[in-house]
């Protein structure tokens, strides 16, 4: 994480322990996870014990302590999505990618997240792919989506080698 970015995030918030969650939110948005070094800086600048920063970062699901995959697939597991077969959609994701929710594929290209209700219940099952909401998902549709995104990866590699 760039020191300048952290500086910007901390502006107006130094020595204010109650700003801890807002600061971590901004770091998460910028880096995709909360680096250890950032936590140490935040502890010092906000005046919060390091243990407390680590505790808060590990408590809330919004914060990841490890980098996520390049493409994050978030499957909604809310009640309405559940009765419409969200479990099968999640099983498709874990089966096709070979990782569990919260984990990253070995090539770092995908990671799967679960979320308990995004509030788009009438359109479930929902999968969020890189901030894009995909609705009425089925295992088949997800299989195609993952294949399409994977194709971009090989295209990117080909372009890089060309």
């Amino acid at each position: 994480m760039q020191p300048r970015t952290l500086d910007r995030i901390l502006q107006g918030r130094r020595s204010q322990p109650n700003q801890l969650i807002e600061v971590l939110q901004d770091i998460q948005e910028d880096s995709g996870y909360i680096p250890e070094a950032a936590m140490r800086d935040v502890a010092q600048e906000l005046g919060v014990p390091l243990m407390e920063v680590y505790r808060v970062a590990s408590f809330y699901k919004a914060f990841r302590l490890k980098p996520s995959g390049k493409n994050v697939l978030t499957v909604c597991m809310g009640t309405a999505c559940h009765v419409r077969g969200a479990r099968l959609v999640l099983d498709q994701a874990t089966g096709q990618l070979g990782v569990n929710p919260g984990e990253v594929t070995r090539d770092g290209f995908f990671s799967i997240e679960r979320v308990n209700c995004l509030g788009a219940c009438a359109l479930g099952p929902i999968v969020v792919e890189n901030r894009s909401y995909r609705h009425h998902m089925t295992p088949g549709k997800l299989r195609t989506l993952i294949k399409d995104i994977s194709r971009q990866k090989t295209k990117g590699a080909r372009n890089a080698n060309a």
Binding site: N18, I21, E52, Y60, A62, G119, C121, P139, G140
Partner: protein, 617 residues
């Protein structure tokens, strides 16, 4: 725009805005809520904008990007005035035709009209759609008239006149009395009398007090708060201002869950605009009332919908609930008296002030007045947000508004109130949506989420689902919740795997009772409800799993087998290609076979087969 430093200036602004809007004869309102955006309404909005300017209609036609209308399944939705024409499933390709025919000439584009699933007929006018007709959309109807990012829209529609009325001449004590007389009860889940809460906070000792809007809406299946906050944030702000005046608070927070980025954005815009106009800050409208609001984001924790956990989160700490032996109206945020109310509760306040408490109390039942927004989802034809008078029966909501079950399936149950609520069977559908009536039946109105289940839902699996959810969301501090839910889940999982015993049912009930009495917070206390209600009303399903090792709804994986009906299978091979476990074999054009030993019952083959050849038994 200059600051509104007097009441008169606000009145004058309102008059001026209304005058400006008179020249606009036509309006195209497109839903920009999260649901419709998922269905690409942004593309539709851009396309319509382009067409309007291309056809030189931008001057006389107002394109209004509104908040959620509630009829999400039909999205993207659009309403065109005059004519009250309702179009659904609109795509950007439809834009040229919509503008040139309907907007310019008043002609209908038939294919975009809504088809009533019950009668099969096409309906033109939004007001005639049965889904909307049976509702009493006091709060939701405002969504389709205002652009949530425009304070001018809100003011032109009459916004902030309730605040004016209060600041001009209703004392804080009188405001509290009015809210008490209206009978308004918390819309977030607790159903606590709002007037009493405000009164206790007002009388609590201390100069520094807070009001908080709980927009954490964690109940899976609930999105009414998202809809109101995304679609009409100023309505919520105005309610909070009136509440702050009543209890004596100078600072307020809107706590929005992190999974609602659009609601966060619109709340921030609303606060910024209100500050610019001087409707937030010192000496609002020239009165003695000073008040400001900050937006706080959740970190992704259902437990933060609990009031003390929410306050801890605003304080920058983990969202662990605190014991509430002293109520938060006396010892709340930063240990100061705090009034925390749900989004919908705050949204109801301005209308109560403008129309009087008797108007509000005339709707609903004696114990549950006013209207309630319900999120009707699940195995039902018309899913979406529904606003009805309290006291409306579940039957009316599910069948008249919801249109009944899908695929001709029989409806089996309705889950009301989220993970703290309970499942009610069909013979209880005559019950009204009423705080006390539902608590007596073992459920609760809760946030108002209603998930409909049919014969393809296994009620034991539903209990397992909720326990899994609560185990995931538990903060883990107290023994009954952390260990109790875990053990209840262990027992229910055994039952769904065909390893349950009758003694386990008794243990389950005893444990559920202990957890509900000893848990530290509401999450733990109400965690046993899904288990207790399914045991009470669907015991035969539990017994089928235990005695006969069968899942009547054919959901529990350990108790079902997948097979292919050779008579229907034509060997197309689609299932074989989709199977991730290599469990299907077969030659082209010959009936395929599933190897039960390899089959993981993921259901993909069944969902892909176009010939209904995959059987589940």
């Amino acid at each position: 725009m200059p600051t509104l430093s007097t009441f008169r200036k606000l009145d004058m602004l309102r008059a001026r805005l209304r005058e400006q809007r008179k020249s606009i004869t036509k309006t195209v309102a497109i839903c920009g809520g999260t649901g419709c955006q998922a269905a690409c309404s942004r593309d539709v909005i851009d396309a319509v904008k382009k067409e309007l300017s291309g056809q030189n209609l931008s001057e006389e036609v107002r394109l209004c990007v509104t908040g959620c209308h509630g009829f999400c399944e039909q999205g993207p939705v659009m309403v065109i005035e005059p004519g009250n024409t309702f179009y659904c499933h609109v795509t950007s390709d439809d834009a040229p035709e919509i503008v040139s025919r309907t907007v310019a000439r008043g002609e209908l584009v038939e294919r975009l009209l809504y088809t009533d699933p019950v009668s099969g007929k096409k309906i033109q006018r939004e007001a005639e759609i049965p889904f909307y007709m049976a509702q009493d959309r006091q709060l939701l109807s405002q969504n389709r008239m205002v652009d949530p990012c425009s304070i001018e829209d809100y003011i032109a529609a009459g916004g902030y006149s309730a605040l004016t009325k209060v600041l001009k001449g209703i004392s804080p004590g009188d405001v509290v009395s009015q809210i008490k007389a209206s009978g308004l009860r918390g819309r977030g889940g607790g159903g606590f009398p709002t007037g009493r809460k405000w009164s206790e906070c007002r009388e609590a000792p201390g100069d520094e007090k807070y009001v908080i809007c709980n927009a954490d809406e964690g109940d899976p299946g609930a999105y009414m708060d998202r809809c109101v906050l995304e679609g009409n944030p100023h309505l919520v702000l105005e309610g909070m201002m009136i509440g702050a005046w009543a209890v004596g608070a100078k600072k307020g927070y809107i706590y929005v869950r992190n999974e609602y980025p659009l609601a966060v954005k619109h709340s921030r815009v609303a606060v910024k605009q209100a500050r610019e106009l001087g409707l937030l800050g010192d000496n609002i409208l020239g009165s003695s009332f000073s008040f400001d609001v900050e937006i706080a984001r959740g970190g992704g924790a259902f437990v933060c919908g609990e009031s003390t956990a929410l306050m801890a989160s605003i304080e920058g700490q983990v969202g662990e609930p605190r014991p509430k032996d002293v109520h938060t109206v006396i010892d709340g945020l930063y240990h100061r008296p705090t009034t925390l109310n749900n989004v919908e509760t705050w949204a109801n306040v301005p209308a109560i002030i403008l129309n009087g408490p008797a108007w509000f109390a005339s709707k609903g039942t004696r114990g549950s007045t006013g209207t309630k927004i319900l999120a009707l989802t699940g195995r039902i034809k018309n899913t979406g947000l529904v606003e009805v008078d309290m006291g409306t029966t579940i039957k009316t909501v599910v069948y008249d508004i919801g249109g009944g079950g899908v695929n001709g399936n029989k409806i089996k149950a309705v889950q009301i109130g989220g993970p703290s609520g309970g499942c009610l069977p069909v013979d209880k559908f005559t019950l009204p949506v009423d705080f006390d009536a539902l608590i007596e039946a073992g459920s609760m109105v809760g946030s108002g989420s209603m998930v409909v289940m049919d014969e393809e839902s296994c009620m034991v699996d539903v209990a397992k689902y909720f326990l899994t959810f609560l185990q995931d969301e538990s903060c883990g501090k107290c023994v009954p919740c952390r260990l109790g839910i875990d053990r209840m889940l262990e027992i229910v999982t055994d039952i769904t795997n065909g390893r349950g015993t009758p003694q386990q049912l008794d243990l389950l009930e005893e444990l559920a009772d202990t957890v509900s009495q000893t848990a530290l917070c509401g999450l733990g206390k109400t965690a046993p409800n899904p288990v207790l209600t399914t045991l009470r009303y669907f015991r035969e399903e539990y017994e089928a799993h235990i005695k006969h090792k069968k899942c009547p709804a054919r959901v529990c994986k350990a108790l079902i087998t997948y097979s292919i009906d050779a008579g229907k299978c034509n060997g197309c091979g689609v299932c074989l290609q989709g199977c991730m476990h290599n469990a299907i074999t077969g030659k082209k054009k010959q009936a395929h076979v599933i190897d039960a030993a390899l089959c993981q019952k993921c259901g993909i083959c069944r969902s892909e087969c176009k010939f209904d050849a995959v059987l589940v038994a």
